[in-house]
């Protein structure tokens, strides 16, 4: 479908987005825990905060890599529209040939049926 590099780059950026969502969820969880009337549980908060910081770091690293590796945008250096038209014409030819071959086959079948 698409080149592997593009695929993983896109995938990495999508992962960044998912991580941001997760980070927000963690923050919400921490806040809820702090609002606990019986007092916050320490390990819970610790775990969440650790995961939060780790995710922030991951996001930062990934974004930095992607920004560095993003290539310069060269718009449409090679346009393939004319070869696309050639291909369309070839497709039509193929369809036509197939039709002819089918007709031939039908003729043969009819001939054999009568024989």
């Amino acid at each position: 479908m698409d080149s592997p590099t593009q695929n993983t780059s896109l995938r990495r950026l999508q992962n960044v987005e998912k991580r941001i969502v997760r980070v927000l969820e963690l923050a919400g969880g921490v806040m809820d825990e702090l609002a606990n009337p019986t007092g916050p549980r320490k390990e819970f908060i610790n775990n969440h905060c650790r995961e939060f910081m780790k995710m922030i770091k991951d996001i930062q690293v990934t974004l930095r890599d992607e920004i560095k590796s993003a290539c310069e945008y060269r718009p449409f250096e090679k346009c393939d529209y004319s070869s696309r038209i050639s291909n369309e014409i070839c497709c039509k030819k193929l369809e036509y040939v197939l039709f002819q071959l089918d007709a031939m086959k039908q003729t043969i079948d009819e001939y054999q049926a009568t024989v």
């Binding site: 969502v21 927000l24 923050a27 346009c79 529209y81 050639s86 369809e95 002819q100 007709a103």
Partner: protein, 630 residues
């Protein structure tokens, strides 16, 4: 003091938190102004207790005094003293008021903080803690809501951008930020205009279809909205020939576009994203082809009026061009909205008042054996193949850069139209005219060959659109050869060496000239010029092509007539060669006339009994003037 102790509670004079914001900023109530502080202080002065205490003290004093002085002035004395005290207090107040009135800068020097009671501390703490917890809870809820909203938005955008990226692999996607600001979408457009054209001067006008806006549909997914019937396709046909189209397959892609629009909304939920992207891609393909067809038609129109060879414009309408290519054949080229090709064809032919002869296209001639009644002589090439050919030559000429063009000498067409040569359209018309003529030639050749088992017809591809070539092989089976040599051994001694088991005749058609060559006799060439204005004199035409079969078989250097009669071979393995010495065609006509039904020799073979054949052959032999039958 007795009874009920009155307690009045003030707020502690500390700064209390009024509110806390989302970003953690704490808001305190604004400091009251100087006047307000004064007024509030004044209000707080409550002298009721003081009065009462004083009264109490006074009473005690008086009681002490009164114990000494018990009698007359008791009531009056207390009242006087109370009044004096009140007077003192009042004078204090008046002083204070006067000071306030005079607006002296009187500040509260200090106020000793009343010592907080233990439960006050705790309650304050509890209140602030509860407020903070409340804030945390609100924050937590806010974060979780944001997370969910962000997740939904990411999913929606991932779908949109995923589809856009997949389309971008095949098409040019551009973005206009100004338009994005104006409308609600992000301003993406798909550009279908090819700016790398070879002949850019000719086609520099992008059609209105070439930029397509990318919209969002109701679910946030990518959507492309086109007005219906905005795509047009090239349609080609021969006037008067209502040829059977390739019915479904070629029309499949075309009709998809018009069907697409109405069913898209309904079926979108049932389609997966992949299928939807494929449908969109197909739609874009269709638009792209439509743009190309428009350009083709425009170029043809331009060429048609440039006076090139082989092109005569006989009719023109909107999106319709009619040309005559000679020999009474007329073709038309038109632009029709996609999916309506056949209707247009019928409508046009009726308009032009030509009789619609229902003919199958020529290429189905084999099936016609069953139907039987079709006229094979007037077979036209299949209109679809002509359409494709037209598109191809236009594309190669105009769109492909010179270095990429395939190096086929036959199809190289000069783009220049004018007196010096046929332009693109001229070349096309000439090719078609040739094709029609060569089909007729082929009919004749096939008639010659089809009933003779030893004759084989082979078609040679010439890679040139105005030349066709066939070869007829005459293969003698070995049995006859041997038998021949046995029975006629004594007489035909030389023949064994000279006999050939294969004879070849080559037929070449250039435009409308037939060229026949025999095997081993490059000098014996029979040339038939078929003039294009002689269509009325059918006899001559028939004659020419009817001669063709005869001439084909009668070519050769050393030509001898040998008939082999094998009386033991009952199965009718009769083969005869017409191998004759060179002579003019006229002689042979003569001989053929002598020949009983010479023009029907193909029927003659296989149906005639052996002795009749033998006798006729002997006649011929004698006619040959005693030439040795080799």
């Amino acid at each position: 003091m007795d009874g009920n102790l009155e307690i009045s509670l003030d707020k502690l004079p500390i700064k209390r938190l009024e509110s806390i914001e989302e970003n953690g900023v704490e808001r305190y109530p604004s400091d009251s102004s100087y006047d307000e502080k004064r007024v509030s202080l004044i209000r707080r002065i409550d002298f009721a207790w003081a009065l009462e205490d004083d009264e109490e003290r006074e009473r005690k004093k008086r009681q002490k005094k009164s114990s000494k002085d018990a009698s007359a002035t008791w009531q009056w004395q207390s009242m006087v003293e109370n009044l004096q005290l009140a007077h003192q207090e009042l004078s204090v107040i008046i002083d204070l008021i006067n000071t306030v009135d005079a607006n002296d800068a009187v500040t509260v020097a200090g106020m000793t903080r009343p010592k907080p009671l233990p439960n006050e501390v705790l309650s304050d703490l509890a209140v602030s803690a509860a407020t903070k917890l409340q804030c945390y809870r609100q924050l937590g809820k806010y974060f979780k809501q944001s997370a969910k909203a962000l997740e939904e938005q990411i999913a929606r955008e991932a779908r949109f951008y995923g589809a856009l990226i997949r389309l971008q692999q095949n098409w040019k996607v551009k973005r206009q930020r100004l338009a994005a600001a104006a409308s609600s979408s992000e301003g993406f457009i798909i550009d279908l205009f090819d700016n790398s054209l070879y002949d850019s001067a000719a086609m520099c006008r992008p059609s209105s279809l070439s930029t397509i806006r990318v919209d969002h549909d109701s679910a946030g997914m990518l959507a492309i909205n086109l007005p219906p019937n905005s795509c047009r396709s090239l349609h080609f046909g021969f006037l008067g020939v209502h040829s059977a189209d390739i019915p479904k397959e070629l029309g499949k892609i075309r009709t998809r576009g018009s069907v697409e629009q109405c069913t898209r909304e309904r079926e979108k939920e049932s389609m997966s994203d992949d299928e939807y992207i494929k449908e969109t891609h197909t739609l874009l393909r269709e638009v792209h082809q439509s743009i190309f067809d428009d350009q083709v038609f425009e170029m043809l129109n331009r060429e048609a009026f440039n006076q090139s060879i082989g092109v005569n414009v006989t009719g023109i309408r909107e999106n319709y061009l009619q040309l005559s290519i000679g020999q009474g054949n007329t073709l038309f080229i038109s632009l029709v909205p996609s999916g309506k090709g056949d209707d247009q064809d019928a409508a046009n032919t009726q308009d032009s008042e030509s009789a619609i002869v229902p003919l199958d296209s020529f290429d189905n001639v084999k099936l016609e054996g069953k139907h039987g009644t079709s006229k094979r002589k007037w077979g036209f090439p299949n209109r679809t193949s002509c359409e494709i050919y037209l598109q191809q030559i236009v594309h190669e000429h105009a769109f492909v850069k010179a270095k990429d063009k395939p190096n086929l000498s036959g199809t190289r067409v000069s783009g220049q139209s004018g007196k010096d040569g046929p332009g693109l359209l001229g070349h096309f018309c000439l090719s078609l005219a040739h094709r029609i003529f060569s089909n007729r030639v082929l009919v004749e050749l096939e008639n010659v060959v089809c009933r003779v088992p030893y004759l084989h017809l082979m078609t040679h591809p010439t890679w040139h659109s105005q030349t066709s070539s066939w070869t007829i092989f005459l293969k003698v089976p070995q049995s006859i050869l041997h038998a021949e040599s046995q029975s006629l051994k004594s007489d035909f001694q030389n023949m064994k060496d000279a006999v050939k088991s294969q004879f070849r005749t080559k037929v070449v058609v250039n435009d409308d000239r037939i060229n026949v060559e025999g095997d081993g006799a490059p000098n014996v060439v029979s040339l038939f010029k078929r003039s294009s204005e002689n269509i009325s004199s059918v006899n001559k035409y028939e004659c020419d092509l009817a001669d063709l079969p005869v001439i084909i078989l009668l070519q050769g250097d050393t030509v001898s007539l040998v008939a082999h009669v094998n009386p033991e071979d009952i199965k009718g393995g009769i083969a005869w060669w017409l191998v004759m010495e060179d002579g003019s065609p006229d002689d042979w006509k003569l001989q053929m006339d002598m020949y009983d039904g010479a023009s029907e020799y193909r029927k003659f073979l296989g149906h005639l009994t052996l002795d009749v054949l033998y006798s006729t052959l002997m006649d011929l032999v004698s006619l040959c003037g005693g030439g040795r039958n080799h």
